[in-house]
């Protein structure tokens, strides 16, 4: 199977604190992780353990301080800005605070047309047609196409971000808590959609979530992070049936279930 994402010992430091006492601390120490075409790796772990930071490095939105990110055999650090633009299309991210990444002055239709425009794809009519189809797929009524982001609910905005990320049919999707604001039925619709599209087109997905039941459904493999490092990695069944790390077990035990 094709290797799509190869994280090789990547790490990232941030400096924080008041101006005269800034200290650098590692948000991600040194993580190696691979995601293959048609496969989903679920990423779980403590709040603040570096999951979002790792996800942003995986799609080239953040430059690692250590290690190497390779996508489809192409080390991201070797891409010039000019080469990066078309390459971007193949890597998409649904942000954890997705509402914040939506331009507040663009209507739903503009937001769904923009990815095509940015990549110079399709005619204007075709773009609008695709935008409407995307809205349908994530369960947003077409009657809302002329509305602005703040005129939607939290879960509706989250779906706008998902639709935008799927628009360009990426080979790599990093989805950071993509269904956290959705009721169980809409959540099920979106998760089924991810699976359908993955089966049809075989994208590789890194799926960050705190919801263990969701992770169990969507993942082929699961990675567990704590304090900037991977503490456990294994197949879905290994992690859920016989976790080796006490921390993984705690996560499973603490998950509220009906």
């Amino acid at each position: 199977m094709d290797l799509v994402l190869d994280l090789d010992g990547v790490g990232k430091d941030f400096s924080a604190g008041p101006f005269f006492a800034r200290r650098r601390t590692a948000a991600v120490t040194e993580v190696s992780l691979r995601v293959h075409a048609g496969r989903t790796v679920g990423l779980v772990g403590e709040s603040g353990s570096g999951k979002s930071t790792l996800g942003r490095m995986a799609v080239g939105l953040l430059t690692p301080d250590r290690g190497r990110v390779t996508v489809h055999g192409q080390p991201l650090s070797s891409l010039t800005p000019k080469k990066m633009r078309p390459f971007r299309r193949t890597m998409q991210m649904v942000f954890q605070d997705s509402s914040n990444s939506l331009n507040p002055r663009m209507t739903l239709e503009d937001l769904l047309v923009e990815p095509f425009r940015a990549q110079d794809l399709h005619t204007r009519a075709e773009r609008r047609h695709r935008a409407a189809a995307l809205a349908d797929e994530v369960g947003l009524a077409r009657s809302g196409l002329a509305r602005l982001p703040h005129e939607f609910s939290g879960g509706q905005r989250q779906r706008i971000s998902i639709a935008r990320a799927l628009a360009l049919e990426p080979d790599l999707l990093v989805a950071d808590e993509p269904v956290s604001a959705l009721d169980v039925s809409v959540q099920a619709q979106i998760l089924n959609l991810f699976k359908d599209i993955q089966q049809a087109r075989g994208f590789a997905m890194l799926f960050v979530s705190h919801d263990m039941a969701v992770v169990e459904f969507i993942s082929d493999q699961v990675a567990v992070m704590r304090a900037g490092s991977l503490v456990e990695f294994g197949s879905r069944d290994e992690i859920f049936d016989s976790p080796r790390e006490p921390y993984t077990r705690t996560l499973l035990d603490a998950a509220p279930s009906l």
């Binding site: 009721d183 169980v184 499973l252």
Partner: protein
């Protein structure tokens, strides 16, 4: 019995509209001291709009009608200044999206200390100590740096916890928490809910918990309100509704909840027919 006392919050006949588009229709519920009401329902069903109407922070183009009766006072129609003073002190609010509620250019400490000084009259030093103590309570104690940080320097779950710390900081009598734990891993989530339950007991706080997580609702709420398409579909005691929902929509919602150990290929969604029926029953079109 709690139900014989006056509720802290009584909402009745609440509607919210924008032009002739109805967002919330005829919503009513009560919350009592020391109790938790959970609000569940479809994405877009009006949960956050209802909470915003109670807080008096609806955007100006959205008009609310009906009654929001808090501790002996009608809040709907109260002058904006009085309303604002109340919000933050007497009523705590955890926004669904912390990023939209926290100021991007002010340090967290500055944002936390301001209401503590204003509402509780603390000195700068006292307010700072209190802020550190609050951060400790939400599990950000080891992170002294949080006070000095800007919101973009925090992880999603850290932002959410800062928001919670701020909402409880002035000892509110009513706390409205809109999806307060969506960015928290199960262990931190548990810690936060235990904190809220403890405050509920210590301060006799009334808690409104908006959540799509039915496991959480089952475990931590006394009553539940189920919303669909801007209306209340069903309400009652949580244990009873989870055990024996009267409405097909509620039943379907419970069945659709992903459960650990159930390794299916596809997740069940709610039938079109159930949705249409629910909308018709609730009186929509």
């Amino acid at each position: 019995m709690h139900t014989t006392t006056e509720p802290v919050l009584r909402v009745s006949g609440l509607s919210a509209r924008i032009g002739d588009l109805s967002l919330v229709r005829d919503v009513g519920f009560e919350v009592h001291r020391g109790r938790t009401l959970a609000v569940v329902g479809e994405s877009g069903s009006g949960k956050s709009i209802t909470a915003a109407a109670v807080m008096g922070i609806l955007p100006p183009q959205i008009k609310a009608e009906g009654s929001v009766f808090f501790d002996g006072t009608e809040l709907l129609g109260e002058p904006a200044r009085r309303r604002r003073a109340r919000g933050g002190a007497e009523i705590g609010y955890v926004f669904q999206e912390p990023m939209s509620a926290l100021h991007p250019l002010l340090r967290i400490g500055t944002q936390m200390i301001r209401p503590l000084r204003h509402h509780l009259g603390l000195s700068r030093g006292e307010a700072r100590d209190r802020a550190l103590e609050l951060l400790e309570q939400v599990g950000l104690g080891g992170e002294r740096k949080v006070l000095d940080a800007y919101v973009h320097e925090l992880s999603g779950g850290m932002r959410q916890r800062v928001m919670i710390a701020m909402a409880i900081s002035c000892g509110p009598r009513l706390l409205l928490a809109d999806e307060p734990t969506t960015a928290l891993d199960p262990t931190v989530q548990q810690q936060i809910l235990r904190l809220l339950v403890r405050l509920r007991e210590e301060l006799d706080l009334a808690l409104v918990l908006i959540s799509h997580d039915l496991g959480l609702v089952a475990r931590y709420s006394d009553e539940v309100l189920v919303m669909y398409d801007g209306r209340v579909v069903e309400q009652g005691l949580t244990a009873q509704i989870i055990e024996q929902p009267a409405q097909p929509y509620t039943r379907a919602l419970i069945d659709a909840a992903p459960r650990l150990g159930r390794r299916v290929d596809r997740l069940p969604t709610i039938d079109r027919a159930v949705l249409d029926q629910t909308r018709a029953m609730a009186g929509g079109v």
